[in-house]
């Protein structure tokens, strides 16, 4: 168990005053940035990276890594309390989280998210410690065709979220797909649907989009519904604490989805959003209490939160062992490594053991710090949203504006946010759900890119999509998902016949 000895050495370094301060700073900053509607991991890391220029690399990475996974905790807060996901992985969390808030149980949702984030994150880090290099190797097996099928599987499963109103959900998917195709096309690199705007040349930014569709349209809704009063009425602390039964219900979910999340996080480009979404639909399929998921269930919060925190840890495996990014945020961190004068690659573990192992050790510590901080924040947060709407509404509008602006330092993104907000409100009026739209917006560009790459590899021969076990696994899953309503109907009919 050489790894354990190295990890202990890492702990010794991570516990230095400077590094502990960095970890705490990262965790606090991440919680604040994550909790701000629209600001998440990528923005947080990008905004803070310049401040670490010239810092000791170990201290710098501890601060930034702490910030990265602490935004995962914080991102869930605004998703649960205000239905505004702080970051794309929290889109799924808002589904059940906000319903719990509406039921008057915001504290329970926050606790469920915090506890499961902790469990998921810890599982991810343990797997990273024991088998980081192996994990990264496994991730490499996923090439363009495998990833295309994985994303296609996720997209076809959106149907499970739609409930009874299939046309409305599909319209939302279509709108998401239209927004997703704005920007550079993956075939020739030409610009599509830019409407002469240079800010649209590389596509619609996620932040103004999510702040508009979720945040701003939510505010409009708040103004109209209910003349006064708070978002949630006064909450008793007693209602915040999960019961023993609820913990028993959430624990296996968190562990299961933590493991799944770690593996999805390792795959190049799949990332935390895909993992959160997959975990949610897996629980929706197999959990004993699956009927409650979607109506405001703690499982519906625990599954995606455990999974996306685990994915955040898993994404470090390819970064540290191979020097390649596991997702968008780790790509920024990769740039950070180079900026601090390190050479990311397979030798990082042997040449910079202090750096790598104190980072991993700090992740354990950081996770505990996040847990404690979140528990301190929850009662304050629950009280904060009991503030009158009269105060809350203008502040949220102001946050929507400044968060959109800070995305790329351009007023264009504020205008974009406004347009998306109006569209989001119109969707509400037409009873069209926004979540499928947002998931499609995140997933469709990946699918388009991977499909194009697959065809590029074989010069148009589609046989590449059947090239191995992983491919077939996803093909079977996709077929099952697509035809399961038919199979179910057939089964029910047979049963009817028998009964007759």
């Amino acid at each position: 168990m050489e790894n354990i000895a190295l990890l202990m050495h890492g702990f010794a370094i991570a516990f230095s005053l400077e590094n502990m301060a960095a970890a705490i700073f990262g965790a606090v900053a991440g919680l604040i940035i994550g909790a701000m509607p629209g600001l998440g991991g990528i923005t947080g890391v990008s905004l803070l990276l310049p401040l670490t220029f010239g810092m000791n690399p170990t201290t710098a990475i501890i601060a930034l890594a702490g910030l990265y996974y602490s935004t995962m905790y914080g991102g869930a807060f605004s998703a649960i309390l205000l239905n505004i996901p702080g970051d794309s992985p929290a889109i799924v969390t808002s589904l059940d989280g906000y319903k719990l808030t509406q039921k008057g149980l915001p504290g329970k949702a926050l606790n469920a998210s915090t506890v499961s984030s902790f469990i998921g994150g810890t599982i991810g880090i343990i797997i990273l410690t024991i088998s980081g290099p192996l994990l990264a190797e496994a991730g490499l097996a996923f090439g363009a065709p495998e990833l295309a099928l994985l994303v296609l599987f996720a997209l076809t499963s959106i149907g499970w979220l739609l409930g009874d109103d299939i046309p409305a959900g599909l319209l939302a998917t279509a709108i998401g797909l239209m927004f997703a195709t704005i920007g550079v096309d993956p075939a020739l690199g030409q610009t599509r649907f830019s409407f002469g705007q240079i800010n649209l040349l590389s596509g619609v930014s996620f932040i103004p989009l999510v702040v508009g569709f979720f945040g701003f349209s939510q505010v409009i809704d708040m103004i109209i519904s209910g003349e006064d009063g708070a978002v949630a009425t006064k909450v008793r602390i007693r209602d915040c604490v999960p019961t023993g039964k609820e913990i028993k219900m959430m624990l296996p979910v968190s562990i299961r989805e933590g493991i799944i999340g770690t593996f999805v996080g390792v795959m190049p480009g799949a990332g935390a959003t895909t993992s959160a979404f997959l975990s949610y639909i897996i629980e929706k399929r197999i959990n004993k209490h699956r009927d409650e998921i979607g109506t405001g269930s703690m499982i519906g919060v625990a599954a995606p939160e455990s999974s996306n925190n685990a994915a955040a840890a898993g994404a470090f495996a390819p970064l540290l062992t191979l020097g390649i990014p596991g997702g968008a945020t780790t790509a920024v961190l990769l740039g950070g490594l180079m900026m601090w004068g390190l050479q990311p690659g397979p030798l990082l573990f042997t040449e910079q053991p202090d750096f790598v192992w104190s980072l991993i050790a700090s992740m354990y510590i950081g996770n505990v710090i996040c847990l404690i901080l979140a528990f301190i924040c929850i009662p304050i947060l629950v009280r904060a949203i009991s503030v009158s709407k009269k105060v809350l509404v203008p502040i949220i509008i102001a946050v929507c504006v400044i968060a959109s602006y800070a995305n790329s330092n351009a007023m264009f993104d504020v205008v974009l946010m406004l347009i998306c907000g109006i569209l989001g409100y119109l969707m509400k009026l037409a009873d069209v759900p926004t979540t499928p739209m947002l998931l499609t917006f995140v997933l469709a560009p990946m699918l388009e890119q991977y499909v194009r790459q697959s065809f590029d590899m074989t010069r148009g021969n589609p046989s590449i999509f059947f090239r191995g076990g992983i491919c077939w696994f996803f093909i079977v899953l996709i077929l099952l998902v697509s035809f399961s309503p038919l199979i179910k109907n057939f089964y029910l009919k047979m049963k009817d016949k028998k009964a007759n």
């Binding site: 797909l177 239209m178 030409q190 400044i402 205008v415 946010m417 119109l426 009026l429 069209v432 065809f455």
Partner: protein, 141 residues
């Protein structure tokens, strides 16, 4: 108002589907830049029409309210004002104005909330994260 979105989707869908052919559906032995937009456009047209027909049949009314225009107008105002007095002061002034004139809150409380929020924004975005915020006419100085 429930018809606006499906109607808009149909129009957007038409635009997307038509433009898609210009971006090519199949190019260099693979899907071109137009394939996904075409799928998106067709889906939007079909389900936009379905939603319009369904709404027409059920005669469902949406609970639209004129009040929904206030936040939209506010943001437009903030954008314009930011070119004159800078972004953060605009946001502060907006919060105060909203609370006083729309919510009929007392001046003192509103000013405190407005200045407090603006101060937090200034500390976080300007001092700490060094985001280059628009300064309006102050930039000339």
């Amino acid at each position: 108002m429930g018809y606006v979105l499906p109607g808009l989707s149909v129009l957007m869908g038409l635009y997307w589907a038509v433009k898609a052919f210009g971006y090519r559906l199949w190019v260099l032995n693979g899907p071109g830049g137009g394939l996904f937009p075409l799928i998106a456009g067709i889906l939007a047209i079909i389900f936009g029409v379905v939603m319009i027909m369904r709404r027409y049949r059920t005669k469902k009314k949406s609970d639209f309210s004129v009040k929904s225009i206030f936040p939209v107008v506010s943001v437009i105002g903030i954008i314009i004002a930011s070119y004159i007095i800078g972004l953060i002061p605009s946001l502060g002034v907006f919060i105060i104005a909203w609370m006083v004139f729309y919510e009929k809150e007392p001046w003192l409380k509103s000013t405190a909330v407005g200045i407090g929020t603006a101060l937090v924004f200034y500390l976080v975005f300007d001092l700490w994260l060094a985001v280059p915020l628009p300064m309006g006419l102050f930039e000339l100085i």
